[in-house]
Symmetry: C2
Subunit: 151 residues, 2 copies
C-alpha cells in the first residue's frame, strides 16, 4: 500500500471518532506493510485523558507484538501529535511518523516544545507531514464548527 492509502485508513478512523462526538483524529500502526492497529480518539468514551488515537494504537500494537518496543513500526496519524503522544512515539521507538495536518495550538513535533529536537529525547522517528492535509484538516474544522454551534 502507498502512504496515501494508509493515511486514508487513518482518516476513516478520524471520521468514526467524529461520529462518536470525539475530536476527530485517527491513527494507523503499520508493521511490515500491514496494518496491525487502528483507532481514533476515545477520551470521552473511555473517561481517559490519555485515550488519544496514537496512544491507543501504540498500546494495541505493543500487545500484539508482545513488546513495549515497536522498532520497525510506522505510525500514520491525521493530526500532529501532542507532547504526550510525541513522547510515547519516542519511547516505543516508532521508526517513521507520518502526520497529515499541523496543530499550531497543541502540537509538539513542528510546534510547541518540538519534542524530537530536544536533547532529552532519546529516540527521534523520521517525520513526514502534509499527506492528505486538506481532507484531515477539513474534518477537524467541521467538527469544531459543529461544536461551537451546539454550545
Amino acid at each position: 500500500m502507498t502512504k496515501a492509502s494508509f493515511m486514508e485508513y487513518a482518516l476513516e478512523e478520524a471520521k468514526l471518532a467524529f461520529e462518536r462526538g470525539e475530536v476527530p483524529v485517527g491513527a494507523i500502526l503499520v508493521y511490515q506493510n500491514e496494518i496491525i492497529a487502528r483507532g481514533g480518539n476515545r477520551t470521552l468514551e473511555h473517561k481517559d485523558p490519555s485515550a488519544h488515537a496514537e496512544m491507543l494504537v501504540i498500546r494495541e500494537a505493543a500487545k500484539t507484538l508482545n513488546s513495549e518496543r515497536l522498532n520497525n513500526c510506522d505510525l500514520y496519524v491525521t493530526l500532529e501529535p501532542c507532547p504526550m503522544c510525541a513522547a510515547i512515539i519516542s519511547f516505543a521507538r516508532i521508526r517513521r511518523l507520518y502526520f497529515a495536518t499541523s496543530d499550531i495550538k497543541s502540537g509538539a513535533v513542528e510546534n510547541g516544545v518540538r519534542l524530537f529536537s530536544d536533547a532529552s529525547c532519546h529516540h527521534k522517528p523520521e517525520v513526514y507531514s502534509g499527506i492528505m492535509e486538506s481532507d484531515c484538516s477539513s474534518l477537524l474544522k467541521e467538527f469544531f464548527k459543529v461544536r461551537r454551534k451546539l454550545k
Copy 2:
C-alpha cells in the same frame, strides 16, 4: 495526612516496582485528602511503553471519578515526570504536582522541554519538588547499580 506521608506511600509503590524488576517509580493520586489511586511502573509487565506510574494512577482515578478531568486532585510521584506524564497531568487538570527527585536526563518539568512553561500548555499544575528526595533518589540509584551488574 501530611505531604511527606503521601510521598511515603508513593515510595512504597516505587519499592514494589523495584521488586518487579521495573524502574522504581511510584505515584499516588489524592482527592479530598484520600488516596484514590496508587501504583508503580509496569512498562515491562504490561508490555506497554505508556505504563508509567503517573499514567496508571491518572487513568485509574479518572475511571473511579468517572471523568477525564481530575480538577481537584493532587499527584505525588517519586521522580520528575517525563514529557508524556507531564502532558497527561496537564490534560487531566491535576491541581498540584509533588515530586521527590529531579530527572536531569528525561524529566520535562524542571528539565528538558519544561512543558508547563511552554505556551502550548493549556493547564499548569502547581509544582512542588524535593519532598523525600534522598530516599526516592537512593532507590533509583540502587536499581541502576544492580542492573549494571547484571548486564
